[in-house]
Amino acid sequence: MSSAILSEDSIQVSARPRRWHILVFLLPAFIVYSAVMILPLIETLRLSLYNIVDGQSTFVGLANFKVLFGEERWAADFWRALKNNFIFFAIHMLVQNPLGIALAAMLSIPRLRLATFYRTAIFMPTILSFVIVGFIWKLILSPIWGITPFFMDLVGLKAFFSPWLGKPGSALIAVSLISVWQNVGIPMMLIYAALLNIPDEVIEAAECDGITGWSQFWKIKLPLVLPAIGMVSILTFVGNFNAFDLIYTVQGALAGPDGATDILGTLLYRTFFGFQLQLGDRSMGAAIATVMFLIILAGVSLYLFGIQRRVRRYQF
């Protein structure tokens, strides 16, 4: 009996040897990813359910969230940050991504000279540090030493200059546009790659049918790069709702003026780590981080199940 089973096993094994190498190759990435991403994430989620009661870390259920949404000051700060974050995201979607598509379309024109130069120049800011970008733009827009008022004066537009970064009405838009300037290279590159992937046969067939120029872009190329645009959008969404560094370097941790540029990232930073005399509150910080995680999770799921499955893909 047992010998029969053994023989059966041995037949299976010999037919399909265990592929240990898969596990071995996956392991390093799995360990590193778990250690630096998954475990901290779980720990953050756990921390958001705890708070210090009488000097002891105690399980408090959803009390931290009750404070965050229930107490007037916390709720006001949170909703303002969320609103600003949506504006930040909207500006990226309305400016950065169309601009990226347009730049990619222009770069893919075969007759364009110096295409490599433009591509490199436009992509360059993406690899610059946030600190440098923030510092450069603070100087460019400075009403005292900046070149913006000088150049605007040359073309007679000085009257339209204002200290944008310091005004509650314009600060968020200004910072968003700086971020767009820095990151526009990413959608450009992704969509440029997608455009290059369109086989020449398709384009030639379109030309035979008399579809050229603009209508060729709208009817042939754009539908073919739609999956790439979807991916760019979701990358923008995740990036924007995790954003922190640029606002911190340009506007400081209080995200002034009057909290006009305060997004979830800066609110989290101030709450978790504290600022100046404000002591850090790790539990409330973790609660905000958890809400951010849920927002991003919801957005990504919506995209994944609602949009990505419906996008038509073309195989060539």
């Binding site: 107490e71 007037e72 000051r73 916390w74 603070k138 827009l141 400075s142 009403p143 005292i144 030493w145 008022p149 204002s162 200290p163 944008w164 970064l165 310091g166 005004k167 509650p168 400081g252 209080l254 002034g256 003026p257 009057d258 909290g259 101030r270 600022f275 100046q276 005399l277 404000q278 002591l279 509150d281 409330m284």
Partner: protein, 419 residues
Amino acid sequence: MTRTTLKGLLLASSILGSAGLAHAEDVTLTIESWRNDDLAIWQEKLIPAFEAKNPGIKVKFAPTAPTEYDAATSAKLAAGTAGDLITCRPFDKSLALFNEGNLAGLNDLPGMENFSPVARAAWTTDDAATTFCVPMASVIHGFIYNKDAFDKLGIAIPVTEADFFAALDKIKADGTYIPLAMGTKDLWEAATMGYQNIGPTYWKGEEGRAALIKGEQKLTDAGWVEPYKVLAKWKDYLGDGFEAQTYPDSQNLFTLGRAAIYPAGSWEIGLFNTQAQFKMGAFPPPVKAAGDACYISDHNDIGVGLNTKSAHPEEAKKLLSWIASPEFADIYANSLPGFFSLNSTPVKMADPLAQEFVSWREKCKPTIRSTYQILSRGTPNLENETWVESANVINGTDTPEVAAEKLQKGLDSWYKPAK
């Protein structure tokens, strides 16, 4: 787990470290500090002066980077490897160290009598019973002005608020200089150089500050709103685009000679002396009417405390007493113009600008920044809110009354004054 590992490492390093010293005859005291900038002064001036008088005691000044100091010090204190003397941040951070039993009470330290209660306030328990750090240095607020500009325009040093605005009008009318070098971009400039600078005159310094902590006054009272009303008037005298003007911008505008008056903290003196090409002078915050008592913000910044786990408490106390002495005050304050000794014995400063600042102590009543003691322990944080609202008032985003109301509302939400 990482914490215990860290503790273990620190413990191991301390044992190994002290093993080498075991045979040395001299006692070595280590001072923990965040003041990297002071390393040369300690090594070249202060330590030799102390060691010459106290044979057998060696002193080592061991600074950490300012941003790492608090975390590193608490880790070292927990592991028992911290230095004998701990440099104290003002208020709550040091109070926490004392409450955890890491800092010793120093009420009976010889030399402590050299400090006034205001000077000790930053390192004294809430009930004023125990002082746990020797006050070392403070910074004073006031206005630094361009003497050449004042001479050229024939402006006398303003004494009253009316004088001050008359001077600003004159500078503005002339047009050569920006009247006031200050921006609101960094927020804290508006609060620290603006509100906390001129404010004590209106809330009557310590009197108002104590009443606020006791709950007898509110931020919406006249004394606390009035400085905001004055600040709102500053708007017209700031440079173009002051909303986006940062702190370094303001410093540069003044030292390049483009602005006439700089609302200052005394810590600027060292930098301004090396950068400005013109003569500078200083005046204290203007009073409301001629003859009124003047108040200055003389804010405690640095103190030194005794680690309870120090192996040589007697020697460490000797050093602390020396730090409390007029001799230390003299060497320290003169090496770092702008950081003033809190010692009651007046120090003669060699730097004329620093001497001008410190001379106000004799005629004006000192106080500390109103938001620092006790009132910034909760959420929303009063100090941070004051930054935002001070900038709002100058920008015209909020009226003085609305700003005061917001601050009081935020404070009320968590602060219940002891009855």
